[in-house]
């Protein structure tokens, strides 16, 4: 297990790729965008980027807004 900050909260997750994490959270990878340490991770590379200890991840999607 490694420690990351996910959407502002400290979490213990299994090491692996970002795509693995998104899937383990039950999220549809096609509906979200991921930023890792303030850099966009293109959807096409989510399976190739391994999580590292201390990573700060933001996973966002579209919600209602004006």
């Amino acid at each position: 297990m490694i420690s990351i900050v996910l959407n502002g909260e400290q979490r213990q997750v299994r090491s692996g790729s970002i795509a693995d994490l998104v899937a383990s959270l039950g999220l549809d990878v096609k509906k979200v965008a991921v930023e890792r340490n303030r850099e966009i991770v293109p959807r096409s590379t989510l399976a190739d980027v391994a999580l590292a200890e201390g990573d700060a991840l933001e996973i966002v999607h579209f919600v209602g807004g004006g």
Binding site: N7, V32, V34, E35, I59, H61, V63
Partner: protein
Amino acid sequence: MSADQWSVAGRTFTSRLIVGTGKYKDFEQNAAAVAASGAEIVTVAVRRVNVSDPAAPMLTDYIDPKKITYLPNTAGCFNADDAIRTLRLAREAGGWDLVKLEVLGEAKTLYPNMRETLEATEVLAKEGFLPMVYCVDDPIAAKQLEDAGAVAIMPLGAPIGSGLGIQNRVTIRLIVEGASVPVLVDAGVGTASDAAVAMELGCDGVLMNTAIAEAKDPVRMARAMKLAVEAGRDAYLSGRMGQRRYADPSSPLAGLI
């Protein structure tokens, strides 16, 4: 009458009404209001997913982004960096580059911070975004935004969510006359007549959220806004009569008994 369409950054639309997707009771009501409004573009916000409840319904389950153009906004951003960061994520989430930029100056009035707005517009345009930009109703600021790469100018009619209607028709008209990109009134519309006024001033469209979402019957108000935007547009195109200070009878004076 030929079809009246408008284009922004090479994309053509028939509806001149853009509606927001915030403040609705639920997704069903939101989707029904969008349908009643006839809008082809909706604004959406970018927020963190709820990782503790990933099965929660999502906007995209109710309003299909393949049928309705999602226009991601930067609502809630108070500086250029946050707005740019948000839109980079939006582009990745949605895969499109037409976006709504708003950089706010303060929570109380939600007036735009034009210095930050201008800076963000420049950066976004350089990165290939097509920013439609929320701004003050200032014709000089509007030109500066256009020069910086804004694909549409979206001046406020009144503060966001205020429903006060268009406070300064003169400046909105000056912006319309000076712009070579579409101009849409964004914010301040409270009821149908406000939308009609915006269109009668020659705006290319109107963007609203609260006026529909906070109506007692949002679906009916959405329809009213659709009709008002169409009526205002037709009135503008038809070329209204001149105004006089005194009466001018509509019935002939000749042949009076």
